[in-house]
Symmetry: C2
Subunit: 464 residues, 2 copies
């Protein structure tokens, strides 16, 4: 670190004392996320403990022209949380208070550093839960910043639907309270929704009031095997028409079931597989829904291959779905992974899934195809040895073709992982001139381009 | 109209021909809404038939510095659709195409002038419906512009949750396509949500792709009487914990039931009354939910006073709820009405309802208190002879106290009617410094302040 660079670190220390770190271990720990190959070490990390710390860090950054990237749990998959090399990583994991649970208004106010799993542990005794489940034990601030969603979105929606109130610190020193605890409003412009999904490029989240749901009195799960992807998609549409809105509706392709069977010594039918969890008032309600699930599956060539009515049985039933990552790691030790995340309109879903499998085949690749099928959201879990440049070139080609296809059929280049660094290339094709308006917004909130610069709406050399 | 004013009308005619009107009848028809006492006649009306017409009208407005206010069905309640006197009223009722219904993706693309009731008539043969129901037969463009909601919001959400894609014409000539038909996205800033609820102050909606739902296979309704408002509120919370999420959950106060009984010669119990409609897969599902509704009511001192399992019976059961406006008009012929619309967090709802009734009493007023109680949304249907300045002063006082209270308890000054002209006074108290950011947004999209100027974020003399 040069003397010039050190000046801002000294200024941070003068304001924030011990909460500022330039320890190599801390810098390295904030240099990587879970999805990209990049290693961007910050020049310093601030371990914020309060909103005041966040405001203080932003003031120093403004004064010294230092870029600031918020950090939650580091589970980002597209580079959103990676600092500018040498810049400031603003670690919010210490803003982890969980306020009083409001069991009448179905809300709780939390710090952005609170993790999803810990939050649900706190909510359970109140008979409530926070449904947004992206898989990783992400921070709720990070989840809001990427508009995360996941397995339960088909029923409950994603983060944007679950943030009632958001407090955000702006680069100019203001802290805004956006939204209200009222369940709806027609008052003023929807700034809260604008900050959700902006990946720390417009402001820094310092507090969130989240919407909660009562734990369902009864649940059950079922595993279904289909001759093809199209059948699984059609069954999920039929199910909705029958008045059943499941808690989860998850797809895994046949080849992946085969891999999991090998890894776990299971005997799941090696076909296109759909898992669904239904919830109801009681056992009878749940059983009636299971009957309709079986009926919808049968209409499209599918059959029930397993049912679970207890938590233990459900855990065993869902094992193949939850075992995909482990099976991947076991089958290809030493490989690194890259997840492709696209979301398409439901009428385009079966064709998109088929295209994904064909692209893999054409390029001599294998990769689990995992889908939140009720939302039209597909993931390809690509993998290769880190130094196999040929394989990575083919992987890039497949993921690019899939993202471009998703946009071309009226979908989106990212259903739930965010834009970060790598999806920027699709924003022009997806949003057209609206991208220019997004850039105007960025300039409005961050005229010095210091807040997570380059991410989301940043320029890329060639816009895809 | 002076010669100077006529120049822009001539320019409009050169572009849009017969679609421009200065007929007094047309001007008067666009001078009033359904909720305010104002009469603001435009200088001209453009009856747009296409997006190109909208773009053309905006171009002329830009060139001549004429203010433009979009017009849908004129059912606005807070003045949002009232033109600037002498300005341009941009009538979108002719943009009324309904595209092909997508029964797989559960969407339909429509023009902003399509009315809610006509849309649902078109959807019914497909087994689908559009749930947002503000009562009035509003245009869907107007509904999006005010983020309208209503009786079914407790289950389905309001307009912001139901607009998948929005096309908006900007003042600078660009037309943006915002959002996608994918069910979710983490791609870029949420501009679509920003335009929903912006009341035509940021751009003009030219097309909407709406999310639809399958018609429930079975429904039933129940009417419940409670000793007080608090019991009705508590029962609705308990119901949710029991795993029942009704289609509708509507409250009317005891005095209003009395008035409706008189007007319609009914014998409904003159108590705090809750109606709820539940939907399910079949009769058995619905019956099970009705049993839980009765159980939840009994826990809080309520009792079932009527049930309906057929459309005809439901129509009779809901008559007192739907008869409130008629009863008001019959009981007080010649009175004009003004509806107060606030929304509060559920824990504050019972006290807010009690406050509303106390305020009426203290000010020697009577007014139906009608609530979308599952959302915490309350309406006071104020009424007085149009020239009774003393009564209107008291009405203003009550509505002001109620709106200020809603904001003070963490709610919002308008749950579903929008800000328009009259709710602007509460925006500073409700949004704090975020109001300044909203004004920055306004300046970004409309630097000449020509798009529905003064509405929503416009300055008022004293900010409440």
């Amino acid at each position: 670190m040069t003397t010039v660079e050190a000046a801002w670190v000294d200024a941070l220390r003068a304001r924030l004392g011990e909460r500022v770190s330039v320890q190599p271990g801390d810098l390295t720990a904030h240099a990587r996320d879970e999805g990209t190959p990049y290693h961007f070490a910050p020049g310093a990390v601030v371990f914020a403990r309060s909103e005041e710390d966040v405001v203080g860090a932003l003031a120093v950054a403004r004064e010294y022209g230092v870029s600031v990237t918020p950090w939650g749990a580091g589970t980002s998959l597209e580079g959103a949380a990676l600092p500018t090399p040498g810049g400031l990583s603003l670690d919010l994991s210490g803003l982890d208070t969980v306020g009083e649970v409001d069991a009448v208004g179905f809300t709780v106010t939390v710090g952005p550093g609170v993790r999803r799993v810990a939050l649900n542990r706190r909510l359970r005794p109140h008979g409530l839960f926070f449904p947004v489940d992206p898989g990783a034990d992400a921070s709720v601030g990070g989840m809001a910043a990427t508009n995360a969603s996941g397995t339960t979105t088909v029923r409950y929606g994603g983060m944007r639907e679950h943030v009632a109130v958001l407090r955000v610190a702006l680069m100019d020193g203001r802290v805004l309270t956006l939204g209200s605890a009222a369940r709806k409003s027609s008052s003023g412009y929807a700034l809260k929704g604008l900050f959700v999904g902006s990946e720390g490029t417009l402001g820094v989240i310092t507090s969130l009031t989240l919407r909660l749901h009562p734990l369902p009195p009864a649940t059950a799960s079922v595993q279904l095997a289909f001759p093809d992807v199209a059948g699984a998609v059609a069954a999920s549409i039929t199910l909705r028409g029958l008045g059943v809105l499941p808690e989860r509706l998850e797809f895994v392709d046949a080849a992946t079931i085969r891999a999991v069977n090998r890894h776990r010594a299971r005997r799941d039918p090696e076909e296109s597989t759909l898992w669904t969890e239904v919830a109801g008032r009681d056992r009878g309600d749940v059983d009636a829904q299971l009957a309709l699930v079986a009926e919808a599956a049968a209409l499209h060539g599918g059959r029930v291959v397993g049912e679970a009515r207890t938590p233990e049985a459900a855990s065993a039933l869902w094992a193949a779905r939850h075992g995909v990552y482990d099976a991947l790691r076991a089958a290809w030790p030493g490989h690194t992974t890259r997840i492709g995340d696209v979301c398409v309109p439901l009428p385009a879903l079966a064709d998109t899934a088929a295209l994904a499998l064909r692209l893999l085949d054409d390029h001599g690749l294998t990769a689990p195809l995992v889908g939140h099928i009720g939302d039209g959201n597909l993931h390809l879990l690509m993998h290769a040895p880190p130094d196999d440049t040929d394989a990575w070139a083919r992987i890039d080609h497949v993921l690019h073709a899939l993202a471009a296809h998703a946009v071309a059929v009226g979908g989106t280049c990212t259903g739930e992982h965010g834009v970060g660094l790598r999806k920027r290339t699709y924003l022009r094709a997806e949003h057209g001139e609206a991208l220019d308006v997004m850039r105007d917004m960025k300039a409005l909130f961050d005229p010095l381009n210091l807040l997570n610069p380059g991410k989301v709406v940043g320029e890329v050399e060639v816009e895809g």
